[in-house]
């Protein structure tokens, strides 16, 4: 435990209030930043905060607090902490907690609760938050005595980080915060972490897996978020390089394996590159590493990689055979499993298969928007590509949900782990801005870009005030196409262009930024892009760029929901753009 300059020594046994115990325990758990919003039932805790070396970031909405804690955790690998009051404060956290649950993000949320004497009486701002969050947390606690605070918080940290990580909520009654108890940090240590009893990876299974890998002619590694969680990037790289196996990435896996690596084919799934999906469909062996065969990745289970044997390396036994039946399941920590597996794999010549994949790229690359002549229009894909080029792929990028998220995944090539912060499982609009703020607090020296659509940005745009108050140097790119773009795209493809409720009138985002004292500029042409981006990067403070992009652009390739991976809608040969309402 290191908290060097901390004035507070949790090892000393003293009688403290529950509120003080809360902060002291957080200090003991090496927490330095919490994101929160005060209120009646959590006021005793806020009152005690000044005595502890913890920075509190005041958010503008509790959903923002949860997403910031989430972004903090994703960028740093540490546990993110959010704090809110009872009732509406607690319920506002729920979307953020669910987002973290779906993406297995370690997070601890602390909520105030009405006094234990009035629990269950529908007291002012009372809500059953442990009941509400039960399905979206890994675990939660209702704490009504000061003595229970330290053990609950410590257990919460252990649960949040262990096994498959996830969010934990600790609901603390106001009287528990006010009462006193002996603070014993060491004594509050939870019982030793017990791994899931159904973890299963013995020699026989390892040999089976190794045999499949050695014999495979067309193997593909499916690289997921678990690589980051298990810190198994090196092991996956060894597996790929030694056995010459190409890699397809999930959305949340991006960055876990360098995009520029010759064996990295790119992203798979609904908006993955055609050759990646094709390679998966043609493969005779899939090696799934820390991914869960999400429906956005497999299309339909019945048509998914029917020629392939499947090896699933996964820490959560409940994921085995859930969506896709597998031949060999190695259930355990990805890094540990790979370290046992690698000695059984001597090496292999995979060049024939790699050449086949290279050939299958065919015209797809030619039709890529980067290779089309400049039509004077600004495409979102241009923005992503140029941002990647200008930042040299080194920025931490927090994206929202929708078209821009997919374009970012396709055109911002992540070579470094924990540089893409995005809501994959839940697909939470409004995630990018607060998550980017969280990432900036986790990595203050890194360049952070928030990329959001005009729809999602407005869901949590109030956090601009948080950026202004904290004087954060964050760059915000609003990809503004005047539509809820991904919904519009579905309407175009599957609902006969019935653009019901997707056109969007937005405020002038540059003026909105200005109202917060944040500088901004609009970009309408690609020619203007680089100068403005460089101006933003050079500016000593936050900067918002409103990218006015092509309105009816669509993300290609696309696998329609319920179709097989090889039934993707490919990039059209010609410019797909139809006249926009503005043009006519």
């Amino acid at each position: 435990m290191t908290h060097g300059q901390s004035e507070f020594h949790p090892e000393v046994l003293t009688r403290l209030t529950g509120a003080e115990i809360l902060w002291a325990t957080l200090v003991g758990e090496s927490v330095t930043d919490v994101f929160g919003y005060p209120g009646g039932a959590i006021l005793p805790a806020y009152d005690a905060l000044r005595k502890f070396p913890i920075r509190h970031i005041l958010v503008r909405h509790e959903q923002g607090a949860a997403h910031m804690a989430d972004g903090y955790a994703r960028a740093s690998g540490k546990v993110g902490v959010a704090i809110a009051t009872s009732g509406p404060g607690a319920t506002n956290l729920v979307t953020g907690i669910a987002t973290a649950m779906m993406d297995s993000i370690p997070m601890v949320c602390i909520t105030g609760q009405v006094s234990s004497k009035v629990l269950g009486t529908d007291a002012f701002q009372e809500i059953d938050i442990t009941g509400i969050t039960l399905p979206v947390t890994k675990h939660n606690f209702l704490v009504s005595r000061a003595e229970e605070i330290a053990p609950a918080i410590r257990a919460a940290f252990q649960i949040a980080q262990s096994g498959r990580p996830g969010p934990v909520l600790v609901d603390i009654t106001k009287d528990a915060q006010q009462a006193t108890a002996i603070f014993d940090f060491a004594g509050a240590k939870p019982r030793a972490y017990a791994p899931h009893p159904m973890l299963h990876c013995n020699d026989q299974k390892l040999h089976q897996a190794a045999e499949l890998i050695r014999k495979a002619e067309r193997p593909v590694i499916l690289a997921g978020h678990g690589i980051l969680q298990a810190r198994a990037g090196e092991q996956v790289r060894s597996l790929a390089e030694r056995m010459q196996i190409p890699i397809g990435m999930t959305l949340l896996g991006l960055g876990a394996f360098p995009a520029s690596h010759p064996l990295n084919m790119g992203m798979m799934g609904m908006h993955g590159e055609s050759w990646v999906n094709q390679a998966i469909q043609e493969a005779d062996l899939l090696i799934a590493c820390g991914m869960r065969f999400d429906d956005r990745v497999i299309g339909t289970p019945a048509t998914y990689a029917t020629k392939a044997k499947k090896i699933h390396i996964e820490i959560d036994p409940a994921e085995i055979n859930k969506n896709i039946a597998v031949d060999v399941a190695l259930v355990g920590d990805l890094r540990e499993v790979l370290e046992q597996l690698l000695p059984l794999l001597p090496g292999r010549d995979g060049s024939a298969w790699l050449r086949l994949i290279e050939a299958s790229k065919g015209t797809a690359a030619v039709r890529d928007i980067r290779n089309l002549p400049d039509s004077g229009h600004l495409y979102a894909a241009h923005v992503m590509h140029d941002l990647w080029r200008i930042t040299e792929g080194r920025a931490i990028v927090a994206t929202d949900v929708g078209q821009h998220q997919m374009w970012e995944a396709q055109y911002y090539h992540h070579d470094f782990p924990r540089t893409l912060i995005t809501s994959g499982g839940l697909g939470t609009m409004g995630f990018a801005l607060p998550a980017g703020i969280g990432a900036k607090f986790a990595c203050p020296d890194r360049e952070v870009w928030v990329i959001a659509g005009d729809g999602g940005f407005q869901m949590t745009a109030s956090e601009l005030a948080t950026i202004a108050q904290e004087k954060l140097k964050i760059h915000i790119a609003v990809i503004n196409n005047g539509y809820l773009g991904m919904v519009r795209q579905w309407q175009e493809f599957f609902y006969e262009r019935n653009y019901q409720s997707t056109p969007l009138v937005s405020p002038d985002f540059v003026k909105l930024a200005d109202a917060h004292g944040i500088r901004g500029a609009a970009v309408r042409k690609r020619a203007e892009l680089e100068n403005v981006v460089n101006e933003a990067r050079a500016h000593d403070g936050p900067f918002l760029i409103n990218f006015m992009v092509e309105q009816e652009d669509s993300v290609y390739p696309m696998i329609p929901a319920g179709s097989a991976l090889h039934e993707m809608i490919r990039r059209p040969d010609q410019n797909p753009l139809i006249e926009t309402p503005q043009d006519s």
Partner: protein, 192 residues
């Protein structure tokens, strides 16, 4: 198919909700659920019977284990086990037609545990079909069935006991002093 799970869970508020919520989330109906104290202090034992697809057993067991309050889960679907249910059945009976109920109870190895001027209460233990058999025969008589209270299924594997919790915790399964007054029988250890 019918799945039967035995789970050892911490004896704390909210645990039942967590377990039940897992089945609810999967849209699986719990057919029978019994909970009671177990041989281990602080742990309750649940027997859960649910109708789910053949493949669901693995996922349910794995998901139950993911609950922090669940210590051990055994899937004993299709495994040699003793299953019992307890039922209390109140039937209408007066001085004229009581004797027939006594005879029936005898045949079913049930007991009469209450006798009132207008009714009798039968206690019966056994497998589901036996209890249903008694109810059916009662319904065929003039003794109307007034109330039925069934405990739900309780199941235990035959032979060696299955509680890996005890072994994992490194504690003997001998009853502690506090357990003895609860009439807990010592469990059989698996020979290692």
């Amino acid at each position: 198919m019918l799945h039967t799970f035995v789970a050892y869970v911490e004896d704390k508020p909210g645990v039942l909700t967590r377990v039940a919520s897992l089945f609810r989330r999967l849209n699986i109906n719990i057919i029978s659920l019994t909970v009671g104290r177990s041989e281990r202090t602080g742990y309750s034992r649940m027997t859960i019977v649910a109708e789910a697809s053949d493949q669901a057993g693995h996922r349910i067991r794995a998901s139950l284990y993911k609950l922090e309050d669940v210590a051990e889960v055994d899937d004993i679907s299709g495994i040699s086990a003793v299953t019992r249910e307890l039922a209390l059945i109140k039937v209408a009976a007066n001085a004229e037609n009581r004797s027939g109920v006594f005879e029936l109870a005898e045949v079913f190895r049930a007991r009469i545990v209450d006798l009132a001027p207008e009714s009798m209460m039968i206690e019966i233990t056994g497998v589901e079909s036996k209890i249903e058999g008694l109810i059916q025969v009662l319904n065929e008589r003039e003794n109307r069935v007034l109330e039925v209270c069934r405990s739900g299924k309780m199941t235990m594997r035959r032979g060696h006991h299955t509680s890996r919790v005890l072994r994992a915790m490194g504690v003997s399964s001998e009853p502690s002093a506090s357990d003895s007054d609860r009439n807990v029988l010592p469990t059989v250890e698996e020979p290692e």
